[in-house]
């Protein structure tokens, strides 16, 4: 009780001010951003059907889009070969060669247990390594076909 009596009173708090120009500016900004938020949501909803179904280049793929679903089907088909630590080289159609990295990263994201490579980024292949071709077939005597699917094929490197 003694402490309460001797404690200094709290400093008086200045009465809040309305400051009309600032309030008006903030209301305008808030309204503008509110409209912006609605526009972003509508734009996204409008774009989604296209993003989902279009055959976009790999860097523009998004979850559950048609190409990702195609890759997922291929991976599901070859799942029994993709044990932990297996090295898999991803090969894509020649016209997408410059974007093989993105296909590889999607494959890695969808099946993280394996080690995924592209023809450009890893040291030499070893016998027994797998080669996964998406929307492409290989005619190469150094690999043996393990599985063929409508989405692509899986090969094993021979030497």
């Amino acid at each position: 009780m003694h402490a309460e009596r001797t404690a200094p009173p709290p400093p008086p708090r200045r009465r809040p001010r309305w400051h009309p120009p600032l309030l008006l500016a903030l209301l305008l900004l808030a309204g503008g951003n509110g409209v912006g938020l609605v526009r972003q949501v509508r734009a996204l909803r409008a774009a989604l059907p296209y993003l989902r179904t279009a055959d976009l280049p790999p860097f523009a793929w998004r979850a559950r889009s048609a190409p990702v679903a195609s890759l997922e089907r291929l991976l599901t088909a070859v799942d029994s070969y993709l044990g932990p630590g297996v090295r898999v080289r991803v090969v894509v159609p020649e016209e997408l060669a410059s974007e093989a990295h993105y296909v590889r990263m999607w494959a890695a994201y969808l099946r993280p247990g394996a080690f995924w490579h592209t023809p450009d980024d890893a040291p030499g292949d070893r016998p027994g390594d797998l080669v996964l071709t998406w929307r492409r077939r290989l005619d190469d005597p150094r690999v043996a076909l393990l599985l063929d699917t409508p989405e692509g094929a899986l090969y094993r490197r021979l030497r």
């Binding site: 400093p11 708090r13 200045r14 009465r15 809040p16 001010r17 309305w18 400051h19 600032l22 309030l23 903030l26 209301l27 900004l29 808030a30 503008g32 951003n33 509110g34 912006g36 938020l37 526009r39 972003q40 949501v41 734009a43 996204l44 989604l48 860097f59 998004r62 979850a63 559950r64 932990p84 990295h101 993105y102 990263m105 999607w106 890695a108 994201y109 993280p112 247990g113 080690f115 995924w116 490579h117 592209t118 980024d121 890893a122 040291p123």
Partner: protein, 429 residues
């Protein structure tokens, strides 16, 4: 019901984090949910990092961690301070809930996932979850050099731990951390505004403005799963400590903010250093060197082991830096202008031109220094990175602006608001 897991974990961390920090001597405020969550995230990351470095599988932590967290939360006998800087919910809070709720809805349906989560953060999280710890050999694989193996690992660690607790790696579930971070950021802004002598209408309009703007960017730019929310939250969390005289509570606030930023991104390490230095420049009774030490220690303790591992496994990416080339300015300037006009940001980047206004108010100069230093670091990166500069700016700047703009807009608001007695909670304890 597994979608509740990030929320439950966040709640547990927010309860236990400050209790642990107080036991370690940091005066973390008990009535700031955003700061409490950040403290919990930092503490969890410290434990997970230490376990990984010691070769301890994370699964061994799971029976102990919830018990330890619950014990810490229950055993915290720190008297709750008088509630200051609070106000009743208003229309602006509805705007906050709407922005966060909309974002969470899209996140839960996997519609706004950042590509970086696929190519970078999420893949690391999956590997960490499989390895039951931070998978350094995976990061050292030359085939994943494009994965930014040298980045700090708070976000993949948090996602991996959540996935292991959930029993599966389900992206939408893990991505719910991002709306939680947006919510924490907006709650922190709300609390800072509440401590200012502003009319409720101005505070409400300002909060609604920032909530709608950040919500629009979060959705429009597809930011679910981006690590950029951590430095953004860290800088906003630090604002009350940067605009007040140095105090024990401010020191704890900066310590948490700096540690959160440093553990999340390389840019966050620069931000952490700037926060600690700017805080050290503030006037205060405590010796400056002790304030610097106290504010910087957690960030240093999280950064040094990471740095050792980066050196040990040779993870540093060669394209991170190079010789500066001023000729790149010719590519940078138009690209920055294009980014400033990006519809997702709705003109907010042009607020960078108003940065000098912060200098007009002495109490905002530390914040101005941090913002200028961080923006200067990004400019330096663009001048030195030996990659396609225009593409780099266009691809990265919209995200990097997220680190700066919430705190800058908050600072500008404080700069233009009528002068009065600011009473941030830290000043009163």
């Amino acid at each position: 019901m597994s979608w509740l897991l990030p929320f439950a974990l966040a709640l547990l961390l927010a309860l236990a984090g400050p209790a642990l920090a107080r036991r370690l001597g940091f005066a973390v405020a008990a009535d700031d949910p955003a700061l409490a969550l950040a403290t919990g995230l930092v503490a969890l990351h410290a434990v997970a990092l230490a376990a990984s470095l010691a070769g301890l599988p994370w699964r061994w932590l799971f029976p102990l961690l919830p018990l330890a967290l619950a014990w810490l939360a229950a055993a915290d006998r720190t008297p709750r301070p008088e509630r200051t800087g609070r106000r009743r919910p208003g229309l602006a809070d509805l705007a906050v809930l709407a922005a966060v709720g909309l974002f969470a809805l899209f996140v839960a349906r996997d519609w706004v996932t950042t590509p970086d989560f696929i190519y970078h953060w999420g893949l690391k999280a999956e590997r960490f979850a499989l390895a039951d710890g931070i998978d350094w050999p995976f990061l050292a694989d030359p085939a994943v050099a494009g994965l930014h193996p040298d980045y700090p690992v708070l976000w993949p660690t948090l996602a991996a731990l959540t996935a292991r607790l959930a029993g599966r790696f389900e992206a939408p579930l893990l991505l719910l951390w991002t709306p939680l971070l947006l919510l924490a950021l907006l709650l922190s802004i709300r609390r800072t505004l509440a401590a200012e002598p502003l009319s409720p209408a101005i505070r409400g309009a300002a909060l609604a403005w920032l909530a709608c703007g950040l919500g629009a960017f979060a959705i429009g730019h597809r930011t679910a799963g981006a690590a950029d929310w951590f430095p953004a939250l860290a800088l906003v969390l630090a604002v009350p400590a940067l605009i007040a005289p140095r105090s024990a509570a401010g020191e704890a606030r900066i310590a948490v903010a700096a540690a959160l930023a440093a553990a999340a991104k390389i840019e966050g390490i620069v931000l952490a250093a700037l926060l600690v230095l700017a805080f050290g420049l503030r006037p205060g009774a405590r010796p400056r060197w002790r304030a610097l030490l106290g504010a910087g220690l957690p960030a240093a303790l999280l950064t040094l082991p990471w740095l050792v591992q980066v050196a040990r496994f040779d993870l540093f990416t060669a394209t991170n830096t190079g010789a500066p080339a001023l000729a790149r300015c010719a590519e940078i300037a138009p690209a920055v202008f294009r980014v400033a006009r990006t519809p997702e940001w709705q003109g907010a980047p042009f607020a960078l031109l108003l940065w000098p206004l912060l200098l007009l108010r002495p109490r905002l100069r530390a914040l101005a220094l941090v913002l200028a230093g961080q923006a200067g670091f990004y400019l330096w990166t663009y001048l030195t990175k030996p990659v396609d500069t225009e593409l780099l700016v266009l691809a990265s700047l919209p995200r990097l602006l997220l680190h700066l703009l919430p705190a800058l807009l908050l600072g500008l608001l404080l700069a233009t608001a009528p002068p009065g007695e600011s009473r941030p909670a830290e000043e009163e304890r």
